[in-house]
Symmetry: C2
Amino acid sequence: MSNPRFDVLCIGNAIVDVLARVENQFLEKHQLAKGMMRLIDEQTAEDLFAAMGPATVISGGSAGNTAAGIASFGGRSAYFGKIKQDQMGELFGHDLRAQGVHFDSARAIDGPATARSFILVTPDGERTMNTYLGACVNLTVADIVPEIVADSAVTYMEGYLWDRPEAKEAFVKAAAIAREAGRKTAITLSDSFCVDRHRDSFLDLIRNQIDIVFANEAEITSLYQTQDFSQALELAAGDCEIAVLTRSEKGCVVVSGDELFTVPAHPIEKLVDATGAGDLFAAGFLYGFTHGKPLDHCAKLGALAAAEVISHIGARPEVNLADHAKAHGLM
Amino acid sequence: MSNPRFDVLCIGNAIVDVLARVENQFLEKHQLAKGMMRLIDEQTAEDLFAAMGPATVISGGSAGNTAAGIASFGGRSAYFGKIKQDQMGELFGHDLRAQGVHFDSARAIDGPATARSFILVTPDGERTMNTYLGACVNLTVADIVPEIVADSAVTYMEGYLWDRPEAKEAFVKAAAIAREAGRKTAITLSDSFCVDRHRDSFLDLIRNQIDIVFANEAEITSLYQTQDFSQALELAAGDCEIAVLTRSEKGCVVVSGDELFTVPAHPIEKLVDATGAGDLFAAGFLYGFTHGKPLDHCAKLGALAAAEVISHIGARPEVNLADHAKAHGLM
């Protein structure tokens, strides 16, 4: 098997984040569950935007953030996602390419606008996401370029894709191509509500088509319908080749066969905005994984990248992660 | 004369800032003079954007930043400026209104897109601006709503408007209406290159139609064609009812008739991004001025607001400036 052109291909909903600081009362008034992601329609998006304070706009999208993070580490990443040919789509495409990510998905010419996630950041640094999928609804199997999937060491996908049958189909096709080409597949479970909606098919997927599963504590316990993290961990170890389970400030646990590693969270001065923590953890981990690092080292790279992204507003790294890792003796 | 509905009406180029961190070499490679503002055409904007790193998008525009700052202090501000009915224009309008600024200027339906300023922030925190005026070229006398001008205690305008004859005409009309209604007029000289382009008409303007002039050291010395700040100060004192001269970390000097106040800069931990320093200084000063504060107190409010805005990316306040001023014993 030849050396792949890309370390990691990321597939996900192409979203521009519209971030605003709000007080806790704002979440209560709008009946929003803190820390969650919900899908909203265009009218709700307009109403929420009108009610929000002044915004900061930064490219986002879970897998897009991961692709950007991998590139910032110096990895070769590619991205599939659907934007419209509009100003927000132009921004999204620019930001990925400016970071060095290969991104060439066909843009929608008509139909809904480029997706936006209205992200409300509370004083505790937690983020609550309200996502208008917009043009993402046009992501289909037609957007899966087989040559790129087959030429990527790992194909990594968002669980969020599971919310739309066409995107799920695209996901399954990509996983099949990757496996056929002898490459690895990875998924993030994305959100505990998302896991709730798709528990059985997620279980089926990770048992049969996925090599590396990323999940946080809420997601993995939701998947196995248990309150007990240790139990969820044990079940995950049985189902996944590699399970990477993140626990916010408690660090993470990586299990693979008989191996188990716990890695502490990288210290931060202040949690400013949790947006992108999981995405950047995955970026660090996958960068390490595709560069032959041991699993605990992969997790340390993940913890470092997650710590960087939650120390500022927005889900894309503000520093060069390769330099950052070198400064911390991790590269 | 009745109490005006607005404390300050701000008129300027309605611009969305597209900010990216760059190394000094980037400025050298693109032959950009650090700290300056240059106007660029659409093609240059596209080329520069393509060459820039990942961006953060935050509403800007000098007078827009000032209007937002005044509202954040709890003042009543209004804004005239031209956006297009597009995604960036929607963001700009939302951000002003979300801050509590009255903004109801007619949006352009066709023609160029909403203006963007590509702002390159170097490691020293200095910003270098490249502005594509876009829809701003449609700001004309038709956008000056006489009732609002007459109902604002102060009408404040950007020197940048002087770069286009139609905007200059709008400026002059607004100043005349304000004076006719017994209100005050104010201008910021905006940029030393802008002063260079319009020295004689700026001098004529401030001698005859403007009550309060805001300028930094480079601008006021350019206006009077001298290297000597003291000399420029003396000349300004003769020409302006109130001259507010800012000197970055050296603080500011306010002169009015026989009175002269020097106020130190408000201390900051780290200069992150100088974008909006002058705009927010003007916001604090004008908030104080329209609330009957003595000139030195106005300058302290200006220094406080400027310090806040240069401590983070973007030219709009990230905290409630009224609370911030109370916490510092200034309100």
